[in-house]
């Protein structure tokens, strides 16, 4: 077994795509806001995998820099999103996305 991976780029890009789609599916079908946030994390990771396989193919650091920036965006988004969920729970005593409809009408 060699210590250098030799993988078809397309296969790993398809894996990243499936991760993105699984995350999008999770956002669509779950009502609990925490699951929506978790599915968004899955999508972030799918995009990160695509960038890393690009960095591996072209042997440049740019893909890894982009993954670092994705990490920063995910951290900020999770911080804000979770405080919003907590604030919502404090107000409505539920994390059901369907109950958050006070703007309607």
């Amino acid at each position: 077994m060699t210590s250098i991976a030799n993988v078809p780029t397309t296969a790993i890009l398809v894996v990243a795509l499936v991760l993105l789609m699984l995350g999008a599916l999770g956002v669509m079908i779950r009502r609990d806001l925490l699951y929506v946030l978790m599915s968004l994390e899955i999508m972030f990771n799918g995009a990160g995998l695509a960038f890393v396989v690009g960095a591996a193919k072209w042997q440049q650091a740019d893909g890894q820099v982009m993954v670092l920036l994705i990490l920063v965006a995910a951290a900020a988004e999770v911080g804000v999103g979770l405080s919003l969920v907590l604030r919502l729970y404090h107000r409505l005593k539920t994390v059901d996305a369907d109950k958050v409809s006070t703007l309607r009408g």
Binding site: T9, V15, S39, L71
Partner: protein
């Protein structure tokens, strides 16, 4: 190392599918952590040890801990599980899954029709990433710090007010540590 990439990707996909179908939020979160670790393994096998380490430390080690704290604060428990069981019926997940599968098939077709390339993943180490960060992407680093500052201020401002039924612990008086000065 190629086997590691494939197995890691397989585990990541399985764990992602398990995350979105669990009833218990804690279980889903643990599967998410497992997915993050599997992806860190894939990153390492693809010659990116720096982002592999960052993925473990920051994503699995800080962001997921934040998630876990919030789940424990919300403390949904058994009633939450019963609620979730009613929410994920076939009528809810069948149409989005079908549409997503169609999209996935189309995107995979587009990807594979570009032409097969291979990635021979020699290591792109921390030194190379560091040089890229401090030369070409210096402005991106500054902007990232702005984003984190904005996230910090927003999280502090948006946090819910303290609960009235749990009293705040009293702060110790300021003059107290004078007696514990070290003796010669």
């Amino acid at each position: 190392m190629t086997i590691v990439v494939y197995v890691g990707c397989g585990i990541a996909l399985l764990c992602a599918a398990l995350v979105i179908t669990r009833r218990n939020a804690m279980h889903a979160m643990l599967y998410l952590v497992l997915m993050l670790l599997a992806l860190a393994l894939v990153f390492f096998a693809l010659g990116a040890p720096f982002v592999a380490a960052l993925q473990v430390i920051i994503y699995a080690g800080a962001i997921m801990v934040l998630f876990l704290f919030v789940v424990m604060i919300l403390n949904l428990g058994r009633p939450g599980e019963r609620q979730e069981r009613g929410w994920l019926s076939v009528a809810v997940w069948a149409p989005p899954t079908a549409l997503t599968a169609v999209l996935l098939g189309l995107a995979a077709y587009v990807l594979t029709s570009i032409g097969a390339t291979r990635a021979i993943a020699g290591e792109v180490g921390p030194k190379q990433v560091g040089m890229a960060l401090f030369r070409e992407y210096a402005i991106a680093v500054e902007l990232a710090s702005f984003v984190l500052l904005a996230g910090l201020i927003a999280a502090i401002h948006l946090a819910p007010p303290p609960r009235e039924d749990v009293p705040e612990p009293a702060a110790p008086p300021l003059g107290a540590p004078a007696e514990e000065a070290p003796r010669e």
